[in-house]
């Protein structure tokens, strides 16, 4: 059996076990009045059984010599960077606001993953941020966050100006 299959089977069994226990805790009810855990309990049991079937199917398969690892020849660095940028976007959106957040996100994507030149990166990220703000904030009237930190800085600057 291949290693990746072993890992996924462990995941499925753990998931099935977790949902079984939690569904039981929620209450299965009776056949005439099924409880909130009724469906998820039986589904998790079936998933566990399917895991056993998959295990038996995969058991017979031998590890192929020289089989390519899952990420061989793949640019894993890009995947990691993309995820970091996505989570940073989620974390910073309310703090630094839509415009700045989008500008940085696009800039990092172009520069770090796309390996674009600085000039192209800056020009493209500014254009995309402005364009996105025009389309979503102005035309589609989506409530885009201004950013708590940006608002504080602006308010401080306003006080200092006065």
């Amino acid at each position: 059996m291949l290693t990746k299959e072993r890992i996924t089977l462990v995941f499925w069994f753990a998931l099935s076990f977790f949902f079984c226990i939690e569904s039981y805790r929620l209450g299965l009810g009776h056949a005439h009045a099924p409880g909130p855990g009724f469906l998820s309990f039986w589904v998790s049991l079936v998933v566990g059984l399917l895991g056993v079937v998959l295990f038996l199917q995969e058991k017979g398969k031998k590890l192929v010599k020289g089989a390519a690892p899952l990420f061989k020849g793949k640019n894993l660095r890009n995947i990691i960077y993309a995820n970091v940028f996505l989570y940073c976007y989620a974390g910073l959106l309310d703090k630094i606001g839509f415009f700045l957040c989008t500008l940085l996100f696009i800039g990092f994507c172009f520069k770090v993953i796309g390996s674009k030149k600085w000039k192209v990166t800056i020009w493209s990220s500014v254009s995309v941020a402005i364009g996105a703000y025009m389309v979503f904030g102005w035309w589609l009237a989506v409530k885009l966050p201004k950013g708590k930190w940006v608002e504080s800085v602006l308010s401080l600057a306003g006080h200092l100006w006065k």
Partner: protein, 499 residues
């Protein structure tokens, strides 16, 4: 006579300027995403869901989303013919002869016949949809909770056919979809399930963040891990109109492709993916010159292209009349309608005739728009093909981020989307598929409610499912769906239309 009145009413809705505009936007975006390899109709529809929610009426929203779906089939053929990369799973077959025609300097007629064939098939299929949907919906009006529970169970047996890889893995993914579908408040007891005090989970996992993550984000991740550079089409295209000989060779395949596409498209798991393969096989078999197939036979483009367009249209029949999505894209459309406050099913025609007939008739106008749009815009699509992916992917990610944020204005939805993006990426790497998960995730709550209501009605007896004739028939068909591949020992490998 009633059908004519309904069609006229439908046109009075779909020909309103605002609906024409949304139809145009839908078919344009559909063609665009069809051209772009790595961005399928499921991902693009899910990315545009937030935009759809801001559209004034559900009718306009559905007209636009439907336009994206059938528009993608038109666009998908362009990449198949010009660069030998299928824009969609449904245009894989078009690569075989379409690309050979392009190499022989006949890209123009190949693109032309693909567009004309798609138009003819799409229009014929809409006629079929118009005629078949009302009697089916009328019959389904007799359905109560047990019938719906049986119908949902039947829908899960579709997985047998949707699954491209392992059936066991497909059912496991469906199980995961069912389990995650019940997260949130139980509407019968008011109890919170699997939310653990997290406010964002108390209303359940949103369809949009889950679908966007599973398709939008994960598709980008899969594409940016590739190190190979996409080939760019360089030669010029001229003479888009097929000549008399081309038409003579294509008209039969277009007719047969339309019929094959329509009937296979209705079947669960059919949609637009399997009919082109069948059409190609039939055309090759009945051709007087089968040796030409694979070397640039125009019939090898006309038949499959007609079949996939007819398949897309007929896939709307089970979704609109029974509330059963036959493909992953239909599941997303079903979810979109539910979120828009519309419940697809037999009552849709009575409760919201403007949505049903407006959408159906918009497909006539949409097909005309696609024909008018696609031939002159081929030069533009070629330019789009030249856009490097490093430029494209940040924009796709940004669309997903803004789209998911705009629904509830909370970053939690972005995190849920990111999590499902990684899940989608990993499951694809491990040989699992997203289609069964989405199908079960969307149908799960409906199935659970009908099942529990049925059991309460019967005081806990499962006999309710075989004592009622409609239930019994549905369950027999469902059982046949499960065992038929085992009996035939040959499972028809039908792909989902996720790409």
């Amino acid at each position: 006579m009633e059908i004519i009145n309904n069609i006229l009413y439908g046109f009075s809705v779909s020909l309103q300027p605002i609906n024409l505009l949304y139809c145009l936007v839908g078919v344009f975006i559909g063609s665009l995403v069809g051209v772009l390899p790595g961005l399928g109709p499921v991902a693009s529809i899910s990315m545009l869901l937030p935009v759809a929610f801001r559209i004034p009426t559900p009718t306009s929203a559905l007209i636009m989303l439907a336009g994206i779906y059938y528009g993608a089939q038109y666009g998908g053929s362009t990449t198949s013919i010009l660069v030998n990369i299928p824009g969609e799973a449904s245009t894989i077959v078009t690569c075989i002869d379409g690309y050979q025609m392009a190499r022989q300097g006949r890209a123009g007629p190949a693109l032309g016949i693909a567009a004309f064939g798609s138009f003819i098939a799409g229009t014929l299929a809409v006629v079929g949809l118009t005629l078949m949907a009302p009697p089916l919906a009328h019959y389904a009006l007799r359905f109560g909770p047990p019938e719906y529970a049986s119908l949902m169970f039947f829908a899960f047996t579709i997985l047998n056919y949707i699954a491209r890889e392992s059936i066991v893995k497909a059912f496991m993914m469906a199980g995961l979809g069912l389990m995650l579908g019940v997260v949130g408040m139980d509407f019968m007891t008011g109890q919170h399930r699997f939310s653990y005090g997290i406010l964002a989970l108390e209303d359940g996992l949103g369809i949009v963040p889950v679908v966007m993550g599973l398709y939008g984000i994960s598709e980008v991740l899969i594409n940016i891990e590739e190190t190979a550079i996409r080939p760019v089409f360089k030669s010029k295209i001229s003479g888009l109109l097929p000549n008399r000989q081309d038409w003579k060779e294509s008209i039969g395949p277009i007719g047969r492709g339309s019929i094959i596409g329509f009937f296979f498209g209705i079947l669960p798991g059919g949609g637009p993916v399997i009919p082109p393969f069948i059409s190609y096989a039939i055309e090759k078999r009945i051709s007087k010159h089968p040796e030409r197939f694979g070397h640039g036979a125009i019939a090898g483009v006309a038949g499959p292209e007609s079949a996939n367009n007819a398949g897309v249209t007929s896939a709307f029949i089970p979704m609109l009349t029974l509330g059963i999505p036959a493909t992953a894209t239909m599941a997303v459309l079903l979810g979109a309608l539910i979120m828009l406050g519309v419940q697809p099913g037999p009552l849709l025609m009575q409760k919201a005739p403007e949505i049903f007939w407006g959408t159906v008739t918009s497909m006539y106008t949409g097909n005309v728009m696609l024909l008018v749009l696609n031939l002159p815009l081929i030069a533009l699509w070629v330019k789009v093909l030249k856009v490097p992916y490093p430029i494209l992917f940040p924009l796709i990610l940004l669309l997903c981020l803004i789209g998911v944020y705009s629904i509830h204005n909370t970053f939690i939805d972005i995190i849920i989307m990111n999590v499902f993006g990684i899940v989608g990426y990993l499951v694809k790497k491990m040989g699992y598929e997203g289609g069964p998960f989405i199908l079960a995730f969307i149908l799960g709550p409906l199935f659970e409610n009908s099942l529990r209501q049925s059991l309460m009605m019967s005081k806990g007896s499962f006999s309710i499912f075989y004592a009622r004739p409609i239930c019994l028939i549905i369950l027999i068909v469902a059982f046949a769906m499960i065992v038929s591949p085992l009996i035939l020992r040959k499972r028809v490998r039908i792909g989902d239309d996720t790409r």
